[in-house]
Symmetry: none
Subunit: 143 residues, 2 copies
């Protein structure tokens, strides 16, 4: 299970170190893709497969379904973890998420999220302020 918040630097080649704890899980294969709220999602191969199978069932005759599948599937990329425990993020994903140098790696149960530091801070302060309101809505979703 992925939890926690880590800060790492992207190097000039677009590589990002993964926190040590998570490397074992990711070493068997990992997939990065476009996420929501301007971040990237990083899944293990197994978790990715589950998601991809769901996406594949969307009917391509529906414009919205096509758009969503294109964002997630075409946005996805197999990434290997090198001997130093880093993943290479393709340019189009870095620019999508606006990743500069400082990147926040956040654990969210079955995925990691990669955020540009600035965006993360902004998002967090916003959410913290609204947390009471947000919580109220969660009731409807069964929490």
């Amino acid at each position: 299970m992925f939890i926690g918040e880590y800060s790492h630097n992207l190097d000039e080649k677009g590589r990002l170190a993964v926190p040590k704890k998570f490397r074992a899980d990711l070493s068997k294969g990992a997939v990065v893709t476009r996420g929501l709220d301007n971040c990237l999602f990083l899944y293990t191969k197994i978790e990715w497969k589950k998601l991809a199978d769901k996406l594949a069932t969307l009917p391509f005759s529906q414009a919205k379904a096509r758009a969503f599948a294109r964002l997630m599937l075409a946005g996805a990329m197999d990434v290997g973890v090198d001997k130093q425990g880093r993943v290479m993020l393709p340019e189009y994903l870095r620019s999508f998420a606006g990743l500069k140098k400082q990147v926040v790696v956040a654990g969210l149960y079955n995925r990691l999220e990669l955020w540009d530091q600035k965006n993360w801070e902004a998002y967090k302060t916003k959410s913290e302020k609204e947390s009471e309101n947000i919580a109220e809505d969660m009731f409807e979703l069964g929490i």
Copy 2:
């Protein structure tokens, strides 16, 4: 499974390099055809067969069904992958999709999509803006 976004150049002879990863799957035979949103779809022979069988079940008494079947079936073309891993795209498909020099190859699970670079960028910016809305709709479809 086809995933990812790649950028390749059409050469003067109308040939397009296929990303290395996908060549093994496509080497047994591939089919290109007209796609939706102004791109081309590229299937393996097996996946194409499944789609063609579905298209064949469409009632030809419906004008829209006829038009759709014509678009996809009559637009289809067997393509071989040469020893350098390239496919030859017939002129009528290149002009249909408005392919110039820079082409984006996008993996969408069971098919590849071929886009003119410009169109792809435009489509993507549009979808990214709407992605949160789209995502909420996807929830209803069980994602």
